[in-house]
């Protein structure tokens, strides 16, 4: 019985890909480890290796086919006859008991499934004048364009980090930059976060404008001393004599199934630090406009991206001078019944919940903070004045979080406007578990946001 070769998942987030090329022909013998095909995913072109030996009986999916779903049979391999038959089907059989059990443990509408959703803000973005020409970009492309434009504009801007140059970025954010700007300005570093963050800060002391990429913010904990003690405090300690115009950027927050040490939101950590600006965009346009502002800013800016948003699309105004000011929140959806405040991927839950609540006649105002330091409390407070109710949404841990700060400020500054105690929706107060079902439980959900809004509105 021939073994099915299945379209493999080649990254934690891959669901489909293009089968670009076959490197084998029907009838050819292959052994374990031979490269048999090339597949293009959203991140990269990858090689597929044979996992068993035998003869290629049939190619089922021709080269050039796009959107081949993971686990689709793409070829058949006939094993040697002396081997006990070990068709891929056997694995599928074995998988059944477990997959059967999954629906019981997995609640519907869990956030793990939602990173595919893209949303359209209901209200016009105030920064973008009507009639402005736009281009549809992924957040990944928007960030790349922001860096490229600023590097063209100012020769003192350079990018450094692990795998940013030759590899084109671990998450492909710096794609093409090495080719355009050369290795003087797009610099691969060794795996030495504290060291290269320090080198970046030193270069900024001397007036250069470094963009330091952390492969993920998890690894920046190696460098947090340089970010806080050297970058954030030097302007103050020098009585304003020394400037530190640096951007630290990279993906923050939960990715998919990468467990405790690779899935953490650092929003509150950096928002706590005077001397830093902290930005966390949720759309392509915001990502581009804010990153450009961050690069031009004379202060150290911590720029928190989100891996699961890199592939989401959005309209971005054309032109090299599209800037979004740091420190200004955005009303992503107008409403009168309750205020929901969120940022980064929390916005996916917030907007989806607002959509669902609208169907029940509840008009939620959704505010995207975009900048976490300085916080745009004016926008939040004026919304609460109107709605008298507030819910915060974030993926981070709940204790001493950005949501905690928003709730505290609202309680302190708008107590008389409130008709209900504020409610926080957040990630669970645990390190991120690996198991698929537990990971879903550790993240917030649209259901939780809907329930929280109903709670502050005293409706069942």
């Amino acid at each position: 019985m021939p073994t099915e070769v299945l379209m493999p998942a080649l990254s934690p987030t891959m669901e489909e890909g293009t089968l670009t090329k076959w490197l084998i022909k029907e009838g050819q013998e292959v052994k374990s480890g031979d490269v048999i095909a090339e597949i293009e995913t959203d991140k990269a072109t990858m090689e597929v290796e044979a996992v068993d030996e035998g003869r290629v009986a049939k190619i089922l999916v021709p080269a050039g086919t796009e959107n081949v779903k993971v686990n689709t049979p793409i070829a058949l391999i006939e094993g040697e006859d002396e081997k006990p038959a070990k068709p891929a089907g056997a694995e599928k059989e074995a998988a059944k008991p477990a997959t059967k059990e999954k629906p019981a443990a997995v609640k519907p509408e869990q956030p793990g499934d939602e990173h595919k959703l893209s949303y359209e803000p209901a209200s016009a973005e105030p920064e973008i004048a009507p009639g402005t020409e736009t281009v549809n970009l992924t957040m990944r492309e928007a960030l790349r364009d922001a860096m490229a434009e600023e590097m063209r504009r100012d020769p003192d801007v350079f990018l450094m980090g692990e795998e940013v140059a030759q590899y084109q970025g671990a998450y492909k954010v710096s794609q093409g930059l090495l080719e355009e700007f050369g290795d003087k300005r797009v610099i691969d570093t060794p795996i030495t976060e504290q060291g290269f963050a320090g080198v970046g800060v030193g270069a900024a002391f001397a007036g250069l404008n470094p963009i330091v990429e952390f492969m993920t913010w998890n690894f920046a904990m190696q460098a947090i001393d340089q970010i806080v003690n050297s970058a954030a405090k030097t302007h103050y300690m020098s009585g304003g004599l020394v400037h530190v115009p640096i951007v630290f950027r990279g993906p923050n927050g939960a990715a998919a199934r990468v467990a405790a040490q690779h899935s953490q939101c650092y929003s509150a950590w950096y928002a706590h630090v005077p001397g830093l600006k902290v930005v966390a965009p949720s759309t392509s346009a915001d990502a581009k406009g804010l990153l450009k502002s961050a690069i031009r800013d004379p202060n150290p800016v911590v720029f928190l991206e989100n891996e699961l948003l890199y592939g989401t699309h959005g309209d971005v105004p054309k032109g090299d001078d599209f800037l979004i000011p740091i420190g200004k929140a955005r009303i992503a959806r107008a409403g009168k019944d309750a205020t929901v405040v969120s940022f980064a991927r929390g916005m996916v839950y917030a907007l989806e919940a607002a959509e669902r609540l609208a169907k029940e006649g509840i008009e939620v105002e959704v505010i995207d903070l975009r900048t976490l330091r300085p916080l745009d409390l004016a926008t939040v407070l004026s919304s609460v004045k109107k709605t008298n109710r507030i819910v915060t949404v974030e993926e981070a841990w709940p204790v001493c979080s950005v949501g905690s700060e928003i709730c505290a400020q609202v309680a302190m500054q708008a107590f008389d406007d409130l008709d209900a105690p504020p409610v926080k929706v957040s990630g669970a107060d645990v390190p991120m578990p690996y198991a698929a079902n537990l990971e879903k439980l550790a993240l917030p959900s649209v259901d939780q946001v809907v329930a929280a809004v109903k709670q502050v509105m005293y409706v069942a």
Binding site: L6, P8, A9, L10, S11, P12, S32, G33, V35, T41, K43, A44, T45, M46, E47, E49, V51, V70, N71, K86, A88, E91, A94, P97, A98, E101, K102, A105, E163, Q166, Y167, A170, D188, T189, P190, I191, T192, N218, F219, M221, Q222, A255, A256, R257, V258, A259, A260, Q261, H262, A428, D429, V430, P433, Y434, A435, A436, N437, L438, L441, A442
Partner: protein, 345 residues
């Protein structure tokens, strides 16, 4: 070179620091040891091939770093350890768990995130542990396991037992600052630790030449007076021999050694590796001419072991791996109540 010299003379000749050259083997393997080594290495290889397959089918998520190609390093060094000695490593840890004697079923079930995985499904590929087998993980932050290994060795010295801790890390990790902080303390306090650098030539897509001002990593301890040895990590007998020497020194209170294991990973860094940083030929050439398992297989055939016996071992290993996979796919996910357990004791 100049700095090397001055550090040597400045050391007051405390210890010979090694010359980074391959040393002669202390004792050749018996036929039984070779058979055992063959079986263990094959188990790791087949296990990893299966893991790669399950990843491709979506049963394993997140990052999954396969150990294929490097098997001789963990198996050879494990053969040099005594029961009770500890092991710690980074995220490329499946081989280390199996070499430490952890059950393939519990390792595979951890990869699929199920309740009888060695970390109850909470840690996944990068975070496996077994205090019972003295295996302390499974760490995701590059370089972090190096001081941790020195700390395990510190505890051994503190308690006055004669255990040694094998502390593994990669060529890329060898540039992290905390590695050198750990080196200094380990030699200063003569901690019973052996630092094993698994030099597979690449850190993700960065070759060692592109990341390191000096590429002879065995000599990275020179300024701390830590001797180093360059070892052919594809030759399990050389691996064990170097391990025996270094571990004996550590156990005798003479402090750490750095073993630079020259090895190679055949697969990508993780499952999502575009592999544009090296040629297909380079990988093929290592597989064809340096494969550690083939090497032992040939020695066994020369020893007079026949093909049929080796086939029988192959089958045994495949059966064990298939059983592990079946277990890992049928074991249920953790109970939802597990979300909030184990945060604190």
């Amino acid at each position: 070179m100049a700095s090397e010299k001055s550090s040597r003379s400045g050391s007051g000749g405390k210890r010979p620091t090694g010359n980074g050259q391959k040393q002669p083997a202390v004792a050749a393997f018996t036929r039984a040891e070779r058979l055992d080594a063959y079986k263990q290495m094959l188990l790791i290889r087949r296990f990893e091939e299966k893991a790669g397959q399950l990843y491709g089918m979506g049963h394993i998520g997140g990052f999954c770093h396969l150990y294929i190609g490097q098997e001789a390093v963990v198996v050879g060094l494990q053969m040099a350890l005594k029961p009770g000695d500890q092991v710690i490593t980074a995220y490329r840890d499946h081989g280390h768990t199996l070499a430490a004697g952890m059950d393939a079923k519990s390792v595979m079930a951890e990869l699929t995130g199920r309740r009888h995985g060695c970390s109850k499904g909470k840690g996944g590929s990068m975070h496996m542990f077994s205090p019972e087998k003295h295996f302390y993980g499974g760490h995701g932050i590059v370089g972090a396991c190096v001081p941790l290994g020195a700390g395990l060795a510190f505890a051994n010295k503190y308690r006055g037992n004669d255990r040694v801790c094998l502390t593994y890390f990669g060529d890329g990790a060898a540039n992290q600052g905390q590695v050198y902080e750990a080196f200094n303390m380990a030699e200063l306090w003569k901690l019973p630790v052996v630092f094993v650098i698994e030099n597979n030539k690449y850190a993700m897509g960065t070759s060692i030449e592109r990341s390191s001002s000096t590429t002879n990593l065995s000599q990275r301890g020179l300024s701390f007076d830590i001797p180093g040895e360059h070892v052919d990590g594809m030759d399990i007998e050389a691996v064990r021999a170097a391990g025996v020497r270094a571990i004996a020194n550590a156990r005798a209170g003479k402090g750490p050694t750095i073993l630079e294991m020259m090895t190679y990973r055949y697969r990508g860094h993780s499952m999502s590796d575009p592999a544009k940083y090296r040629t297909r030929e380079e990988v093929q050439q290592m597989r064809d001419t340096h494969d550690a398992i083939e090497h032992v297989r040939n020695l066994l055939l020369k020893d007079g072991v026949n093909e049929a016996d080796l086939k029988a071992i192959d089958r045994q290993v495949r059966d064990e791996v298939n059983a592990a996979a079946e277990f890992a796919l049928s074991d249920p996910e953790p109970d939802p109540s597990q979300l909030t357990t184990d945060v604190l004791v």
